[in-house]
């Protein structure tokens, strides 16, 4: 087995990288895939909290890199999904504790026994970001339908391309359909027009995401949630399945139009 490494990044903070990593990881594990999530946000770790594994941390990524433990010892198994693991970040260190080549080495070791290695990137474009994208086979950009987030996403796409990686794909997170209809929020099409990369998911704004994040139980496990469904669909798409885009409330036409744009773009 040769697992695929996917890095979730955004440039701007607070757009939902950690939430997306946790939920997509959970959804992939539910599909029966072997998944490891790595928190690359050293010094500001969060992925453990969102996955509800905070109190189980003994060793972390920096311990692995500095040889204080074996890789296996730093991998925390999820409470409900036996095929989902987390390698947490160190909280008491900073980004310089790990180098891009360390990340490549850790991921290469994980590839043999796992289908997916998901890396949660820190915000920014400095060392932490470079650590996170160095081992990536695929980069997924998370953005919100908000000008500043889209600007940063554009910058990140340029930086990923400069590293001679494949063109990244896009997730638009926290789209509020009724605000788009009122003209108070940028539509998904406009985000796509500017960024011009392949869209792999649109996640609707949903208050219950916050609740589930605080509880440490990813929304992807909740059958009825639309946001959860969106994350599950993204996971299926990452496995190569062709899943139609969700019809979000009220506006039946617009996501259909997005998928048309993608097809005509040849992506």
């Amino acid at each position: 087995m040769l697992g695929k490494s996917i890095t979730f990044t955004s440039g701007k903070g607070g757009v939902g990288k950690t939430t997306a990593t946790a939920n997509i990881g959970t959804a992939l594990a539910t599909l029966g895939k072997k998944v490891v999530c790595i928190d690359a946000d050293i010094g500001l770790r969060n992925l453990d909290v969102v996955l509800g594994l905070e109190n189980r941390i003994v060793y972390d990524l920096v311990d692995v890199v500095e040889g204080r433990c074996r890789l296996r010892q730093a991998m925390i198994r999820h409470k409900r999904l036996p095929e989902l693991f987390l390698i947490p970040a160190a909280q008491t260190r900073d980004k310089t504790a790990v180098s891009p080549s360390d990340m490549v080495r850790v991921c290469d070791k994980l590839r043999d026994e796992h289908d997916f290695i998901l890396i949660d990137s820190p915000a920014g474009i400095e060392r932490g970001f470079r650590n996170a994208i160095a081992p990536a086979d695929e980069v997924v950009i998370i953005t919100n339908p908000e000008i500043s987030a889209v600007r940063d996403a554009d910058r990140i796409i340029g930086l990923v391309e400069a590293e001679e990686k494949e063109t990244p794909t896009l997730i638009i997170n926290r789209l509020n359909t009724s605000m788009v209809q009122r003209g108070d929020m940028i539509a998904a099409e406009d985000v796509l027009e500017l960024l011009a990369i392949k869209l792999i998911g649109v996640v609707p704004e949903d208050e219950s995401v916050l609740v589930s994040t605080n509880r440490g139980s990813p929304i992807a496990l909740e059958e009825k949630s639309k946001a959860g469904q969106a994350f599950r669909n993204i996971a299926s798409r990452l496995t190569g399945e062709d899943v139609p885009f969700l019809e979000l409330d009220g506006d039946s036409g617009f996501l259909g139009r997005i998928s048309k744009i993608i097809r005509s773009g040849g992506a």
């Binding site: 891009p100 474009i125 600007r151 940063d152 554009d154 796409i157 340029g158 930086l159 590293e163 011009a196």
Partner: protein, 225 residues
């Protein structure tokens, strides 16, 4: 034989000049020099003059990471190769320091631009990209907000211009900027700076030029129609 790596202190940091030779060899010599002078170099800001070496993004990125692993920060790369300069720029490194690069002085600055001195860019320029050219510039693709294109001559964007464009950057008031969709964040022609109005109607090809000392945009019509 001159040494492969020369290090000297300048106002902006430490200027490291790399000599001729195969890249692996030079790279090795550089690392050795850094090991030898570890105490002197600790925490330094490096300006790397790679002269004629052509470095791709992977090599340059790796070098930057190796250096930062040794506690050195690489902030600028000087190069005689435009390719390497552009690679350095996309990686977020400076390619000019305050002190002019020796070669810069040799560049002709007052010769008229002939029609064939143009740079063609066939990709979308994203936020953070900056392209400067001493002739005309044509972009086939979009120029996104946060990207900057600067030309001594005219600028043509076969796509949507949403970023900053500066035509006639060295004072040519006859320079023009045209785009299929002219919606720049800011437009500069020679010494004039213009900010387009917020509300725009239909997206039509437009041309911006200086008329009576002001930058104006007109819809583009084929000559003679």
């Amino acid at each position: 034989m001159p040494s492969k790596v020369q290090i000297k202190g300048i106002r902006e940091g430490l200027l490291v000049t790399l000599g001729e030779g195969d890249w692996p060899e030079i790279n090795h010599a550089l690392m050795e020099e850094i090991e030898n002078q570890a105490d002197f170099l600790a925490g330094a800001k490096l300006i790397l003059d790679v002269e004629n070496h052509i470095l791709n993004a992977a090599t340059l990125g790796k070098l930057r990471d190796t250096l930062s692993g040794k506690g050195l920060s690489l902030w600028a790369v000087l190069s005689n190769s435009p390719t390497t300069e552009q690679t350095a720029q996309t990686l977020g490194l400076a390619t000019r320091i305050h002190q002019p690069h020796p070669d810069e002085e040799k560049r002709p600055t007052d010769t008229p631009i002939s029609g064939d001195e143009a740079l063609l860019i066939r990709r979308t320029l994203r936020s953070g990209h900056r392209v400067e050219h001493h002739g005309h510039m044509t972009v086939i693709g979009d120029v996104n907000p946060g990207a900057e294109i600067i030309a001594r001559g005219d600028i043509v964007v076969w796509g949507c211009l949403r970023g900053m464009a500066h035509a006639g950057a060295e004072g040519d008031e006859d320079a023009v900027v045209c785009a299929l969709d002219l919606s720049p964040t800011q437009l500069r022609i020679a010494g004039q700076i213009a900010v387009p109005p917020d509300e725009r109607g239909e997206r039509l090809p437009e041309i911006a030029l200086i008329k009576d000392g002001m930058v104006v945009a007109e819809s583009w019509k084929p000559i003679g129609s």
